[in-house]
Symmetry: C2
Subunit: 367 residues, 2 copies
């Protein structure tokens, strides 16, 4: 088997982890392979704070009686060289005198220089970057490099780009299969939904995860609510205030915290500059709360705010078989900040899929 085949095997192993259990950590898989190509140990990172993939694979190989000094270690991500919640993996590799390490992607964190440290110790290090491995850790990479969550924007639009009629009514533009897809895939993968108090109130949205045949699941929600409308007594009956055991409503405001605290409500104070929340500060506050991936489900104004701040990484658009012809209908992006063809936001089409009568397009935003 070739080096890339072993790395791909380690990649498949890495993918066994539940992304929400490992956050803020990356997916990592590792294999210990003997000189004659036998896999003697394997492991993947399964839970934040617990053993790294390399540790599990090495211990697995030792239990199988491997002589590590004659083995290669294949690992999907550059081994860590610093003490976090667990000791550095480089120490373990050096300690067991593993002769060769093949790395499937580099760690964007400058604190991690595992490859160099191993080389300095005379270990043969090969870096063979596989696109599927880099792709798998996109959220981790964005978190590390941009110091912010990965933001995914989801909209359902008419063929001609409207998300709702002029009264804000969008029921039901997308088909039931598309709505189920949002719950089953997009909400399930997100650490929180980002929306506005206006949307929460207008739609009386609960923003939880509802999949047919399963109990509803809680989900954190980040709500732009400058005037803390949701804390007003008349709004306490809204669906967003369902009984929460493990999720939080984050209210984003520039107002001083009120004394009227509600259970599971966390008020995050973000200053306003030029009439807009300082998103750089919001990004940091969310990372601090271990919110690594955010799904934006909002109206045209918040969608535009996030796009203009270059805080949208991917766009999922459900194109629904309807046309509204009304200049007052609500646009997917309610803004006039990007006006010319030359300045148009560039996207990269990642994939498309027919879902019921809708088409789902997935685009990457090219910043």
């Amino acid at each position: 088997m070739s080096a890339s085949a072993y790395l791909h095997k380690a990649f498949l192993l890495a993918g066994k982890a539940d992304p929400k259990k490992i956050r803020p950590n990356p997916f990592v898989g590792a294999l210990v392979v003997s000189k004659d190509g036998q896999v003697l140990g394997e492991g993947y990172h399964e839970k934040a704070g617990e053993a790294h993939a390399e540790v599990i694979a090495i211990n697995n190989a030792l239990a199988n009686g491997a002589d590590l000094s004659t083995c290669s270690l294949y690992v999907t991500l550059e081994p860590c060289s610093h003490t976090g919640k667990t000791p550095p993996c480089t120490d373990l590799i050096i300690q067991h005198r593993i002769s060769r390490v093949v790395i499937g992607s580099m760690d964007p964190n400058p604190l991690v220089s595992g490859a160099n440290i191993l080389k300095e110790k005379g270990i043969s290090v090969e870096v063979l970057v596989l696109p599927e491995i880099v792709e798998m850790n996109e959220t981790f990479n964005i978190n590390q490099i941009l110091k912010r969550p990965k933001y995914i924007l989801k909209s359902a639009i008419t063929l001609n780009g409207k998300i709702a009629d002029s009264t804000g009514n969008s029921k039901w533009l997308s088909g039931s299969e598309s709505r189920e897809y949002v719950h089953r895939h997009l909400r399930t993968a997100a650490d929180a939904i980002l929306t506005s108090a206006k949307t929460v109130i207008k739609d009386n949205a609960s923003m939880n995860i509802r999949i047919p045949g399963q109990d509803a699941e809680e989900l954190n929600v980040i709500i732009f609510d400058r005037n803390l409308e949701l804390l007003k007594k008349e709004n306490h009956q809204l669906s967003i205030f369902y009984k929460r055991n493990k999720s939080v409503i984050y209210l984003i405001t520039d107002k001083a915290e009120t004394t009227e605290a509600l259970p599971n409500v966390d008020i995050i104070n973000i200053p306003i500059n030029d009439g807009r929340f300082d998103l750089e500060i919001l990004h940091k506050e969310l990372i601090l709360r271990n919110i690594c991936q955010v799904l934006i489900e909002a109206g045209g104004s918040l969608n535009a705010t996030m796009m203009e701040a270059k805080a949208v990484d991917e766009i999922f658009t459900f194109i629904c078989p309807r046309i509204l012809m009304d200049k007052a209908a609500i646009n997917q992006f309610n803004s006039s900040q990007i006006q010319t063809m030359d300045n148009a936001v560039k996207l990269q089409l990642l994939d498309s899929m027919t879902i019921g009568e809708d088409i789902l397009l997935r685009h990457k935003v090219v910043h």
Copy 2:
């Protein structure tokens, strides 16, 4: 082989015709099949004014020495019973005492009652409608039933439904592969392009067919030009006035014809009602000119006019990987006539295709 298999074979035969050579006629294919299932004769309609498929198939079978009185005739469309440019096919079938006729689709023209006439003569008639056969003659059926051309609307839009920036610039929203698709498939299949003088002047569009590696081909163009702007001397140098040998520029106006006629320009006078051209009259004028299928390539206003008049049958939308965020950017449909979700135009998704970096969606308009 089953009856539907023979009909499908006749359908494949029918599809060999060049649609532009048979217009305004439908695609028709026919097979003469012996009692023991041998195909003894076959034919398809190849050119308007020339022999019908049944005639060719029957003559082919006779040349092969068939005893037609023991044969079945499979024909994709109900045989004609009236004298047009050729005598009625029913006469020929009766004359040759064909015992059984299997018909793949009924003729929407009430003048055609071939099936009944054959039954009255004691011929066994089976009608087995195949969807692919009906679909193949959609243009013909629309022409017959609605007494107007089939209108296909084509747009290239940003993800969020804009066809151009506020200055009207749309170069180049769609990729070169998409533009080639328009020429190779949509323009090639159309009898004429429908557009406005504004678009022709602004884009200096020639509206012909340009396919890499081939000579440019002429194409009729129907131009809404109320004030006959294009007849003004300063516009005579526009690309639309390329040397035409076999195509015509139809100018739609409510103004009396000017004396300044230009070669290959046909001025069609259409009255204006409530500020809009009377499209019912336009439809008739186009059918009179044997224009059976029209491709709408226009701006947001003409697109909306045609939609509102229920004069769009299919929409081809190229969704391009760009976003414009500008309330003044030009919408695919520039109108405020269809305002609520309940009244939204309903579409049916026919198919989707990735073309370069764009996605092409094909929708049928559900009237």
